[in-house]
Symmetry: C2
Subunit: 336 residues, 2 copies
């Protein structure tokens, strides 16, 4: 199992363990001998692996004659640091980490295809081809955002998958709200977390399914955490937690909370259905009801006023003439 | 493109061309020299490839000093024989043939994943792990049935995929009805073609999709054509065209017609929507309305009377008490 579920380029277990060991003792200088003992390596090998970890951008300070230490707990999303915080959730079992990959959704899809279990988490420090909805790209600067994809195997028909997008958006929102009171924190149907008009996070839900049953779903989540600026096409459209609050945040802490909220809400969804998801989204999103919006869906484009979500999680929009449209997939923009 | 869309084990182009050449001239003995010229091979190589084709079960007769000939047009579903008959349809462009593969749906899914175009057709003479709905297997004896999977990329939400199952069932039914008048030919929601109570063909629709949009769909079709018996667990449950009519049928001819009907109906579906699919299925299936059925869906099981299909292609069933249930996924069995 472990073998077939390995992906090319994923972070080696020894790198994970070295980072985890150093990160867990930020106030200690760990001797090469001790690291060698704890990791089952020669002291020569420790030196080589430390170099490797440095090359990946983790600041490891060498103290000649004494050993190694990280200046402060590094904010790296490796399994060794995530797993202890996720104990008791379905997300602790199988965590796959990349320093760099094309797209965490692609990696998770590949794992799903090979039979990886529900709850598998893929995390990357950097994506070279991060994807968003409708074939768009997702800006994935190294070690500043959270780029993660969650594999789920809900016993549901494909028509219910959009509810998982809403559910994940709510988990992101709740995780952020649990860290900081952020005025203007908002949800935009179907898949964005906003602060005012600017995008803070996005969800991309993809699946493999029979016509009547989901085999697996990949819920991709991108959160802008510590970016201090965005390149021109995104400036003004995107924001980060750091830009909104004026200070950096622990990506590890935010990801842990996000997965904890996701665990809670996904369990509730499986046991009692989606009513609470739709109801909470309605209540927490300024876009769900009474908002003037421009809808773009394929070739079609129209303006109207949002009129709530239907039980499937689809958006209802009242057109100028009064007719109500149910929108399954669209870009929604404030028109006021 | 051609390179990345090659799959391990698929029939080599030269085998395809040799079979096509021999099959197109069943009344001629083709000299080794001529075959060598037409295929761009040495005469030594012709001999080796003929042996290879024989080993695959195609009867090639050698006439010493004269050449080779097939006794009668072999009923092998290679691209060279299918393509000329499919000209003008989306299915002529990319046909992948296997003498043996695990599952044509798996192969088509792999191709879809790699970007194969809409209309890609996968055909196998034999499946070693043919699949049906709900994780069941599909009996796939060598060269007696049609085992094919069609790749489509409809611009639709996942909730509409079940309509493609109905549409494919109709195409199979129409293709059979165009060859022979078969009393008792019937459709059973969602995915079976029957003769009386026995299964003649089945559909397995699988997809890869975003929450709101299908990326691609694989429509797997299995048709029992020339089986003269079925092994014990299937005897009494399955039937073949040969068993029903007392004579063998050309799988090639049936597959060509099936794909032609599929082309016609799929185009209509894309341009005008699914109303005609649901309407025709309702009219041609004895299971759609007024039939006492037992429904098994996951843990649930109940008896009722069918009450038509809804516009999404889902089955409506009136329970004993009078309440109408809309069934998204289930096994349906006659209870009368």
């Amino acid at each position: 199992m472990a073998r077939t579920l390995a992906l090319p380029g994923m972070t080696e277990p020894r790198v994970d363990r070295l980072i985890t060991l150093l990160a867990s003792r930020p106030m200690l200088i760990l001797s090469g001998a001790r690291i060698a003992r704890e990791l089952g390596l020669s002291r020569q090998a420790v030196w080589r692996w430390v170099e490797k970890v440095r090359a990946l951008g983790v600041h490891v300070r060498g103290h000649p004659g004494a050993g190694y230490r990280v200046e402060q707990a590094p904010d790296v999303l490796v399994p060794g640091l995530l797993r202890p915080r996720l104990r008791g959730t379905r997300f602790a079992r199988h965590i796959v980490h990349f320093f760099r990959t094309a797209s965490t959704n692609d990696a998770a899809f590949e794992l799903g295809w090979r039979g990886a279990p529900e709850g598998t988490v893929v995390v990357a420090e950097e994506q070279t081809a991060g994807r968003g909805r409708a074939g768009r790209s997702w800006y994935s600067e190294k070690a500043t955002g959270i780029y993660t994809s969650i594999l789920l195997r809900p016993p549901l028909p494909p028509a219910r998958a959009p509810l998982l997008t809403l559910l994940a958006g709510l988990a992101v929102r709740d995780a952020i709200a649990s860290l900081v009171d952020l005025p203007g924190l908002d949800l935009r149907w179907p898949n964005d977390v906003l602060v005012g008009p600017r995008k803070l996070a996005g969800i991309l839900t993809e699946m493999q399914a029979a016509a009547d049953r989901i085999h697996f779903v990949v819920v991709g989540i991108g959160v802008n955490v510590n970016q201090s600026a965005f390149p021109p096409p995104l400036a003004g459209l995107a924001t980060s937690l750091r830009l909104e609050t004026g200070r950096p945040w622990s990506r590890l802490e935010l990801l842990v909370r996000l997965l904890q909220y996701l665990e809670r809400d996904y369990n509730r969804f499986l046991s009692e259905g989606a009513e609470f998801v739709v109801e909470r989204f309605r209540r927490l999103s300024s876009y769900a009801r009474g908002r003037r919006v421009r809808i773009r869906s394929g070739q079609e484009e129209f303006t109207g006023t949002t009129a709530g979500l239907d039980p499937a999680g689809w958006l209802r929009v009242r057109r100028e003439g009064g007719r109500i449209e149910t929108v399954i997939a669209a870009d929604v923009e404030a028109a006021d």
